[in-house]
């Protein structure tokens, strides 16, 4: 499986995801944002970080960069696209995913391990997880508060497009287990064709029990499946 990681000025999780992809047997290439051609890829990853210093809005400038046109073209042709954290923000700014990520409700940058529940385990990204499985996973963001209009929210629910929801260690999805004020505790969503996943938590940080846990590994194993 061939993957490409897009690198912007200010990306800082690009090397973490590259290490995770390599560990999970992907043949990965790093692609600088000024490139206009994307190497043939089965998976494109838009990594976390602070592209362009979060100028204007998180992800706004990166969402209009040269390589993004190629990403959009490939995504529309069915290529798998994974946006993590700032990558999720960038995907919403490109229009590949609807909705947006607002400032955290408490106005604080949150960096901690939280829990999410796997809501849909039948996609290319999640088939190695069980339904309702609870994962312990790291978040590190200032704008992770997912917001969208009512018609999109209905669409997400009706078409099973919610990937993950914030929960507590027992799997309860409620106000107290919502770290950032996200609409209905949403931590990650798919597009209609389910070939694009945007998520705020960092699965690439959870692939090695030596430094964390391996709860993120099955996301990459699912992609390999």
């Amino acid at each position: 499986m061939k993957s490409s990681v897009i690198v912007f000025p200010g990306s800082n999780c690009d090397r973490d995801i590259a290490v995770a992809l390599k560990k999970m047997q992907f043949k990965n290439q790093m692609v600088w944002h000024k490139e206009t051609k994307l190497p043939k890829s089965d998976l494109i990853v838009v990594p976390g970080g602070f592209s362009y210093g979060d100028y204007l809005r998180s992800g706004a400038i990166a969402g209009k960069s040269l390589i993004i046109e190629e990403v959009i073209k490939n995504a529309n042709d069915g290529c798998l696209v994974l946006g993590i954290c700032n990558g999720f923000q960038i995907l919403t700014e490109t229009g590949l995913l609807k909705g947006t990520l607002l400032r955290n409700k408490n106005l604080k940058f949150i960096n901690k391990d939280i829990h999410v529940k796997v809501i849909n385990n039948e996609t290319n990204f999640s088939n190695k997880y069980n339904k309702d499985q609870v994962l312990k996973i790291n978040i590190a963001h200032n704008e992770g508060n997912f917001f969208t209009d009512n018609s999109h929210l209905e669409e997400l629910k009706k078409n099973n497009l919610i990937a993950f929801k914030y929960c507590n260690d027992k799997g309860d999805i409620n106000y107290d287990s919502n770290p950032n004020g996200s609409l209905e505790n949403i931590a990650g969503i798919y597009n209609n064709k389910k070939n694009i996943l945007g998520m705020m938590p960092h699965p690439e940080r959870m692939v090695d029990s030596l430094i964390s846990n391996t709860d993120g590994a099955n996301l990459f194993a699912s992609l390999m499946n």
């Binding site: 706004a60 909705g99 607002l102 955290n104 409700k105 917001f147 969208t148």
Partner: protein, 79 residues
């Protein structure tokens, strides 16, 4: 031609920064204060002499980059 653009969060979108500013102003004794909403302000100069054409360009800039229409509204004014 010069324009000013104000980008603000839509009415039903939570604005925690505005809320903090509002609470601080109230703490400073500004009791008649009702609400504060925080936004962004741009000044843009375009190389056009025709008002309608210039405004169309600026409108396009707002739609394409300056505002996120999911959560924000914008207003264009002549400077």
């Amino acid at each position: 031609m010069k324009f000013s653009i104000t980008v603000t969060l839509k009415k039903d979108v939570l604005d925690p920064q505005g809320k903090v500013v509002q609470n601080t102003l109230i703490n400073l004794g500004m009791n008649s204060l009702k609400t504060v909403r925080q936004g962004k302000y741009f000044e843009i100069e375009v190389d056009e002499t025709d008002q309608a054409k210039a405004e169309k360009k600026v409108d396009e800039m707002c739609k394409k980059l300056l505002a996120n229409l999911t959560i924000e509204d914008y207003k264009i004014n002549n400077l």
